[in-house]
């Protein structure tokens, strides 16, 4: 069964290209322009989340913190995306598993996704 990845970014073009790139690597990809998607996530939990930290009206870091403090979702690896240079600290602060600075190489994107999806159980980024 294909692993599923949820990508959240406020740019439709980025969602598009990331979806194509990851589908090429044989993942099932869902996308969302806002953080609203997390409210209906109980039905279908993704195997991995790629989350931009600058969402319109919301903060990806805070969403990540919520996910990591929720018993239901804390095991899902969260990788933060941003063009922001202070991304590393944000990732550490909100308990994200890893981060990827925009613009990124597609190879780097696939590598990081592969790395977390092949791990037997999720460990927080900071360890």
């Amino acid at each position: 069964m294909k692993k599923s990845i949820l990508v959240v970014d406020d740019s439709a073009a980025i969602l598009d290209v990331v979806k194509i790139a990851l589908e090429m690597a044989d993942y099932e990809v869902y996308t969302s322009l806002t953080g609203a998607c997390f409210q209906q996530m109980e039905q279908h939990l993704p195997d991995l989340i790629l989350l931009d930290i600058l969402l319109s009206g919301e903060n990806g870091g805070e969403i990540c913190q919520r996910l990591k403090s929720d018993e239901q979702t804390r095991h899902i690896p969260v990788i933060l995306l941003s063009a922001h240079a202070g991304l590393r600290e944000t990732a550490e602060r909100c308990g994200a598993n890893d981060f990827l600075v925009k613009p990124f190489r597609l190879s780097a994107l696939r590598e990081i996704v592969k790395k977390y999806l092949s791990l037997p159980s999720m460990t927080p980024f900071s360890s």
């Binding site: 073009a13 980025i14 194509i20 790139a21 590393r88 613009p103 990124f104 190489r105």
Partner: protein, 635 residues
């Protein structure tokens, strides 16, 4: 022996004495053997007919050697002496005489009285050596005092109780262009002495008259004979009741030059004060103990006082503390310790400058100041004062911050389309590669390279705005410099034909931000490659040294076009470009080295360059090797 100089001939004033008989003279001068006077009687042929005991001692002869003998034959030493001359003169003029002579054979002085009378000559000798010596001492003493008074640059004058001059030294007269005698009989003060029409000098005179033996001093202006006005410092003392003086003694000193200097200094001070009070900058002066000795109105206003006087009064009353009013940060937003204030640094003897941010604790308002402190040294080279100038740059700084914010936002906004462009280019690259479309793959690679360059430029601009805003965050981690150098070289080697050689080893990790240090290495290596188009190699050296502190130095050496001396100093400034005809072919924004330099500085390290035009350049950076716990404060 010259005795003439000390003797004088004086005619006796008693005419009748010429007619005294020898016997009368005997009685008159008490010729008995007990008298202290020496006496000899002679006939007109100078034959000694009588001499008393003292005469033998005075003339140093026995009675037998003198009595019945011609005086001058018995005393050949005396022939031609003043005694001989005076005696002969008295006898030939037949007049009694008195004169003083020094003995030709002893250091004694005698007063000699000679009384010629018909048929006889009487000569009396009275020893006056002690009196003569006292007189000489007095004469010498007076000569010394006179020399002292007359040669003194100060003027000395004596007046009576009403101020009428009885004596004026030549220097007194010289000072005001008169002869001493022109002064005598005049008044010590003119009627209209300046600057108050004589009021001060009248008061001085009154005080002196009322308070004997007490010195009184006054500075006043008095006209020189040539019409110019002189400043005089006069000291008077009432010695009217001092026996032998009985005068008011005045001492004059011409202080015109000093007064002129004082006036010039006062004028210069006033001029300076006007300048200091009218500049837009705040100015403070502290003494060596950091005590405030001056602030201009600008500083007083900043501190909420209407004037300098009000501020100083409040400080003295202890109502305000100097450093309480404002919270202070450095330009990177770190709280500024007192010892880091430019004034504190200047107190250590070094000029200091800093861009500081202040917050008024009362109003909460922020200010930016460019603060420059200059030490002023005394003759021994110790700091005497520190002058600190505060230039309010709040407006410029806010404008700069807005500009930096704009650049930051713009760069950030640019990154989204760059991410999309980059990702689609890579997708297409993969797709065409899978289809074996090599021409398209090549074109897309070129496109990808350009996107990478553009991304780096945008990242640099973003870094610059962060540095300016003090938001460049550095991570502290142990960095294996050997590994980092290797990694950077491995990444860059495929992009260049230059051979990138690594020499040396770091041995120990440094504490720093691996990503940022990698950025510095990439910058130095890409520059080395870019500016040495005809060279074969670029050498990267890693050197670990222990002296004076444990330091890791990395150098990147190229064999390219080099940099002239004049450009080397400014190379690390923001937007500085070495623009000359021959290197216009090298594009760039002039920010890479600035960023690299900032990153190294923020690591507590140092970056510098050694270069010669046409021979190449070597860029160095050194980092202190520290334990993580003693690392510098990074924000």
């Amino acid at each position: 022996m010259d005795t003439n100089a000390n003797s004088h001939f004086q005619e006796h004033t008693e005419p009748e004495s010429a007619s005294h008989s020898l016997l009368e003279t005997h009685v008159l001068w008490m010729t008995d053997e007990q008298t202290t006077h020496a006496f000899i009687a002679l006939d007109l042929q100078w034959q000694v007919v009588y001499l008393n005991q003292q005469a033998k001692e005075v003339l140093r002869r026995t009675r037998g050697e003198l009595l019945g003998k011609n005086l001058w034959e018995a005393l050949p030493d005396y022939v031609g002496s003043p005694l001989y001359d005076y005696c002969r003169q008295a006898v030939s003029s037949d007049k009694a005489a008195q004169f003083e002579v020094k003995s030709p054979c002893s250091p004694k002085w005698f007063r000699v009285n000679i009384f010629p009378s018909p048929g006889e000559i009487s000569i009396f000798f009275t020893e006056i050596t002690a009196w003569k010596e006292a007189e000489e001492r007095l004469r010498q003493s007076e000569k010394r005092f006179r020399a002292l008074i007359e040669n003194s640059t100060d003027g000395i004058a004596l007046t009576d109780e009403k101020g009428i001059i009885t004596y004026a030294s030549p220097s007194t007269a010289r000072m005001v262009g008169y002869l001493p005698e022109e002064f005598i009989g005049g008044r010590i003060f003119g009627r209209d002495d300046y600057p108050d029409g004589g009021e001060a000098t009248r008061r001085l005179m009154a005080r002196i008259q009322q308070e004997p033996r007490k010195s009184q001093v006054l500075e006043f202006r008095t006209p020189h004979k040539d019409g110019t006005l002189l400043w005089m410092e006069i000291t008077g003392i009432n010695l009217l009741d001092e026996p032998g003086v009985e005068a008011i003694v005045w001492n004059f000193r011409d202080v015109t030059q000093r007064k002129q200097l004082e006036q010039k200094a006062a004028a210069a001070k006033e001029q300076l004060e006007v300048i200091l009070q009218n500049v837009a900058d705040g100015i403070t002066v502290v003494d060596a103990n950091d005590r405030l000795v001056y602030v201009n109105d600008v500083v007083a206003h900043w501190r909420g006082f209407p004037s300098l006087a009000a501020l100083l009064a409040a400080l003295q009353a202890g109502k305000v503390h100097r450093h309480e009013k404002f919270a202070t940060w450095d330009q990177w937003g770190r709280p500024l310790p007192g010892s880091e204030r430019p004034t504190a640094k200047a107190l250590q003897g070094k000029q200091a400058q800093a861009l500081l941010r202040y917050q008024d604790n009362a109003t909460g308002q922020f200010y930016w100041n460019l603060v420059r402190a200059h030490p002023i040294f005394d003759a021994q080279g110790q700091v005497q004062f520190v002058v600190t100038v505060y230039t309010d740059v709040t407006e410029q700084k806010e404008l700069e911050l807005r500009k930096d914010h704009f650049i930051s936002m713009a760069s950030h906004e640019l990154k989204t389309p760059l991410t999309i462009l980059s990702a689609y280019t890579q997708l297409l690259h993969e797709r065409f590669a899978a289809e074996g479309r090599q021409d398209a793959v090549l074109q897309l690679s070129k496109m990808d390279d350009q996107i990478t360059d553009l991304t780096r430029l945008v990242t640099d601009l973003l870094d610059i705005s962060k540095m300016q805003a003090g938001q460049l965050d550095l991570v502290q981690e142990a960095v294996d410099m050997d590994g980092l150098v290797r990694e950077v070289v491995e990444n860059l080697q495929p992009t260049t034909t230059r051979h990138l050689l690594i020499e040396g080893t770091a041995r120990r990790p440094v504490i720093g931000d691996r990503g940022r240090l990698g950025q510095v290495l990439i910058n130095l290596l890409t520059n080395a490659i870019k500016y040495s188009p005809h060279a074969d190699t670029v050498v990267i050296k890693v050197i670990h040294t222990h002296h004076p502190h444990e330091t890791l130095t990395v150098s990147v050496q190229d064999f390219g076009i080099g940099i002239s001396q004049s450009h080397q100093q400014r190379l690390f400034e923001r937007f500085y470009r070495v623009l000359s005809e021959k290197d216009q072919n090298y594009p760039g924004l002039g920010i890479g080295l600035y960023i690299a330099h900032e990153i190294i500085s923020r690591h507590g390290g140092r970056m510098w360059v050694e270069s010669a035009e046409g021979k190449g350049s070597t860029f160095f950076f050194s980092l202190p090797v520290r334990e993580a716990k003693e690392s510098v404060l990074w924000t």
